[in-house]
């Protein structure tokens, strides 16, 4: 176990190095001078030259990366151009709201998909199963930005007291909770489609194993067989899927935040990209990626606890 922990932890470093390089390069792919893009075509050349110096764009790209990563490691993510404030400060104000939204959405995803997936598998080919399988496909085909608009149009506008957009306070307050419901459903339900399918097929596979028959033949109650013997083993591919879906969850939150004007990091990212506030864009992308990498790391550790076989490889 300790061996696996150390190995997995050491593996973090090349991944962190890699993602930081990709994040750094992602803003340099577009042709043209970033300083010129920030200031616009009408800016005077001296101004552009000054900004180039300020952002360190006059140095070779490898050195630029080195300086950037050195500062990041010391907790300095740079200054936002549009807001004239440290980017880390701006992100700090937003990060909790993004996490609040994604956690709530993920909770919805798991609750819905576990209930439907397990019932579907236990009553395979029943009406419930057929309907659940079709609607899982239906939900995962849903454009989340459109779903959000439809929720506003069909639900939020019709129910007095239900807010249309924005953040209303922490989720444990009534106002905050009301503001959270629709964005969380918009983000969580399409994901539930994917999860339901995996949970169903994984449950079906374990339900056909011999040890399930053994459990039944020794007279265990059906709920014990399903929840204790089948579900625990069926969880393994689900945990893999969680790791794979985390980047999608956070990516999807950017869209949902835009639809509901949710003041999280995603909203900050989209405004920053239109203002060409590149230091801020770079910092946000880095923070998003760090969250996902660390979350993935935790999922892998959890995985090794659930499934001892993993530690051996």
């Amino acid at each position: 176990m300790l061996n696996y922990l150390i190995k997995r932890t050491l593996l973090l470093f090349p991944v962190l190095l890699g993602v930081s390089i990709v994040v750094f390069l992602s803003l340099r792919l577009a042709p043209g001078d970033p300083a010129r893009q920030i200031l616009g075509p009408l800016a005077r050349p001296e101004k552009v030259e000054q900004l180039r110096k300020e952002l360190g764009l006059d140095k070779p790209i490898v050195l630029q990366y080195g300086i950037w990563i050195w500062r990041v490691l010391h907790g300095d993510l740079g200054q936002s151009i549009a807001n004239r404030a440290p980017t880390l400060l701006l992100i700090k104000e937003r990060i909790a709201k993004t996490l609040e939204l994604t956690f709530a959405a993920f909770l919805i995803t798991l609750t819905v998909s576990f209930c439907t997936g397990i019932i579907s598998a236990v009553f395979q080919y029943s009406i419930f199963d057929v309907l659940a399988s079709v609607s899982a496909l239906f939900w995962l085909s849903m454009p989340s930005f459109w779903l959000g608009l439809m929720f506003i149009l069909l639900i939020a506008i019709r129910i007095p007291g239900l807010p249309i957009s924005g953040w209303g306070g922490h989720f444990w307050t009534w106002e905050g909770f009301l503001h959270l419901i629709l964005p969380a459903l918009t983000l969580g339900l399409p994901q539930a489609g994917t999860f339901t399918r995996i949970i169903r097929s994984s449950m079906l596979e374990t339900l056909h194993q011999d040890y399930i028959m053994t459990a039944r033949s020794k007279g265990l109650a059906e709920y014990q067989v399903i929840l204790k013997h089948a579900l625990r083993n069926a969880l393994i591919p689900v945990i893999t899927l969680i790791g794979l879906q985390l980047p999608w969850l956070f990516g999807g939150s950017v869209i949902v935040e835009t639809v509901y004007s949710w003041p999280g990091m995603g909203r900050l990212l989209t405004t920053a990209i239109f203002e060409r506030d590149y230091p801020l864009v770079q910092s946000i992308a880095l923070i998003y990626t760090l969250i996902v990498v660390i979350a993935n790391y935790s999922v892998d550790i959890a995985y090794s606890v659930v499934d001892p076989r993993i530690r051996v490889d």
């Binding site: 893009q37 608009l149 980047p247 990212l269 990209i273 992308a285």
Partner: protein, 280 residues
């Protein structure tokens, strides 16, 4: 499995046939859409602003008086071009890199798989917004962006396939009689693994369509006034309460197309892989 059995499994799956019909309808619309559109999709008509759906304007008109139905019809071509273009390009890159890594193994495999891990651990939507946003929008930047974030999907899939194929006895036999690596890859590994890549494509195309529409909705993809489903929906967002039809209909069409591809892809996978089909 013989083709007749394959076909029978496939047509027995009604949902897959339903999906196939939607997909064929979509492809047809992508080809003839702009010609059969009853109105100009771009030219404003200030005589008919924000008109609700009627016999003249099946899906109503938008804030500039343009016929939403015509715009949706023309948008089909973009969705199709992006979906197909992205999947072909990412397929070529991903399949070749994946097969090379899986077949040769060793250092190439190690390096490539680490890069794939890195690409898959960055939230694709965030990376795409950054790249497409710094390009400033447009069809070509959008396609480039989507290929950059998605080639790893194919690479990972094909690497696993090539790895398994390499261990087969006939590959060893081919090596023994002196076939070159190039010949083995092109004549044996590729033909034996490509069917999976094709099935995967039918699930990757709807992803590309959905993803690109999301980017256009955010405003970093295809820019208005060009009719693209994502940006039509974005323009309807400001008129949600007064003119619900602008955002509703393009989204409905988008969802239907994605659903069609997913039904089709599911059916194809069941038909090609009976092991998977048993459980579904």
């Amino acid at each position: 499995m013989s083709f007749t059995i394959w076909k029978r499994t496939f047509s027995r799956n009604r949902l897959a046939m339903f999906g196939a019909v939607i997909v064929m309808g979509f492809i047809l619309l992508a080809i003839v859409g702009p010609w059969i559109a009853p109105y100009d999709p771009v030219k404003p008509d200030y005589q008919s602003l924000l008109m609700p759906p009627s016999a003249q304007h099946l899906m109503g008109t938008d804030q500039l008086g343009r016929d939403v139905f015509s715009r949706v019809l023309c948008g089909a071509r973009f969705a199709f071009l992006i979906g197909l273009g992205v999947v072909i390009l990412e397929g070529i890159i991903g399949v070749s890199l994946g097969i090379l890594a899986g077949y040769f193994g060793g250092a190439i495999d190690n390096v490539l798989m680490r890069v794939v891990d890195i690409m898959l651990s960055i939230p694709a939507m965030v990376l795409a917004i950054v790249i497409a946003g710094s390009f400033g929008g447009g069809l070509l930047p959008l396609i480039i962006t989507m290929v950059i974030i998605s080639w790893a999907h194919f690479a990972r899939l094909m690497r696993g396939q090539a790895l398994a194929e390499r261990e087969r006895v006939y590959i060893e036999a081919a090596r023994a009689i002196g076939a070159s690596h190039e010949r083995i890859i092109l004549r044996h590994v590729l033909p034996n693994t490509i069917s999976l890549a094709i099935v995967f494509s039918t699930l990757e195309i709807p992803w590309a369509i959905l993803f690109s529409a999301s980017l256009s909705f955010i405003g970093v993809g295809i820019q208005p006034p060009t009719p693209e489903w994502g940006n039509i929906i974005a323009s309807g967002r400001d008129y949600l309460t007064t003119a619900w039809w602008i955002a509703t209909f393009p989204g409905l069409v988008l969802m239907l197309v994605v659903l069609g591809f997913n039904f089709l892809g599911d059916g194809l996978r069941d038909a090609l892989d009976p092991k998977l089909a048993r459980n579904r």
